[in-house]
Amino acid sequence: MLDAVLHRALAVPATIVLAFAANAAPVLDWSGFLSLRAASSADERPLETDALSAQAQVGLDWWASPAFGAHVHLVGRTDDRDAVRGHAGIAEAWAEANFHPAADRVRLRGGAFFLPTSRENVDALWESPYTITSSALNSWFGEELRPVGIDATWTHQRASLGATLFRGNDTFGALPAVRGWSLSDHWTVLGERFPVDAEYFTSVSAENDGRAGWSARASWNGERLYLQATHIDNRGDGLDYGDLDNWGTRFSIVAAEYSTEEWTVAAESGWGPTFVFGDGQKFVTDIDASYVLISRRWDHARATVRYDDFGADARERALTLAAFWSPRGPFRLGGEVVRASDRYRVMLEVRYHFAR
């Protein structure tokens, strides 16, 4: 029944957008960035990265009217982390309808999108203004979670409720349980098969069992304080599907953020079980990841400290120091040092932002 609802629901925003396109003057905008990056040698999780890499990300926004539009997020990169079809592709593609009943706001989004929960990936194209690489929690979400379905958000004054019905993401949970956590910014693209180990892959596009997943969230937004709670259940059946094993994952997240014009303190904590069947047995792994970051902003610069704590079978911790400087308009120079267990990674990056 959830699948039937999802199929019908996906058609709604697409239909509305097409209908309005016939009667409006559409607007097409694009924006994105190019980056060049150098990193110290880091071969082991969670710091694995290429020594030299480049990437480009572009967002295409087409708005039939201020209320109805569509977005495509394209990614191209040299560092594919040994994935299949991981060099270039579509990270997001969705259509959206916005309504303002009375003083409220209702947003319906249909397609493939990042779950709107992260307190660090708060810029367009799921960029973070705080660090080059994301926390273990959001690195995982960028690699292995991309709801393909419909999301509805209702905002009333300071409170907001959201719900998502999605397909795909049947392998969500494999990476932290088998490969381990990472501290990275590899946003997988649709259709990409990302390596879990020597035998298996994970893919946000994997839909093997015909069962829709769901997510629900609630948030409260004060003048400076923001609180949010989220639950995700991909309803995976945990069965073997060749080199794409399904994992059944239920994951909860609580988040808080306190911000002023200069300072931001943000924290998220997520936990839950993930399971897979093997040799007739059910294997359950409890996974968890948390972080807290403190960031200070100046006119043309920002500095951030982030502490990560994450685990599955083993416990790990990491400390990240990052600094950005934007000397002229579209350029951003960034540096990041990460210490995880007894390993270090130093990263330098030049990022160029562009927009229509």
């Binding site: 009217s65 201020p66 209320a67 003083a103 708060v122 810029d123 923001y226 014009e261």
Partner: protein, 196 residues
């Protein structure tokens, strides 16, 4: 020269003495003060001067600042983004539907609001951002602060329709007509009820 300066000062003082002062308090159904209510006095039977200033609706710390911006019809409004992340400001209110592209800094052209009414703003990137621009056909307006009170102290003698708009209130209180004389000081209180 000294006589000219004295004469000018006397003329200015005379103008200030002639202006009427209207103090308006806005409170909700429980008697509490209402913040961010727009109080505006529309003169009846005479034209008003066109707007001169450019207003600003900023984006700071992923919030619109101010939450409620009152402007006279015909005012240009700038939308600077003071954050180091991008915003995509939009409105689909009938008084002024528009959409700005994703941007940091200040868009090249301000937007001119030529139709009286209320414009609801949002950001397509950040759901929690919302604000209002209230466009009124008069230069006599002010927005209440935490105390729920404003003073309009530059009103000439004449007849005015006093109106109040407050966010979250579906049915605005009925306008009150006042006739002000030179130098008069008048107090008014408006009660609002939250819409359902």
């Amino acid at each position: 020269m000294f006589r000219i300066v004295c004469l000018l000062a006397l003329m200015l003082a005379s103008t200030a003495v002639l202006a009427a002062t209207l103090t308006v308090r806005v409170r909700d159904g429980r008697g509490a003060s209402v913040q961010d209510a727009v109080v505006y006095a529309v003169p009846e039977g005479r034209s008003v001067a066109p707007p001169k200033r450019v207003a600003v609706m900023d984006q700071k710390n992923r919030m619109f600042v101010p939450h409620v911006l009152a402007v006279q019809t015909g005012t240009a409004v700038k939308f600077p983004n003071s954050d180091d992340i991008r915003h995509q400001v939009y409105s689909f209110s009938s008084a002024k539907p528009f959409q700005l592209p994703l941007y940091k800094g200040t868009p090249s052209s301000p937007i001119v609001f030529t139709t009286p009414g209320v414009v609801t703003l949002g950001c397509n990137i950040h759901d929690r951002m919302s604000a209002y621009i209230v466009i009124v056909d008069t230069p006599y307006f002010a927005t209440t602060a935490a105390g729920g009170q404003v003073t309009l102290d530059d009103l000439g003698a004449g007849r005015y329709a006093i109106n109040v708009w407050a966010p979250g209130v579906r049915d605005a209180p009925a306008p009150v007509t006042v006739v002000l004389t030179d130098g008069e000081r008048r107090d008014l209180t408006f009660d609002t009820r939250k819409g359902k």
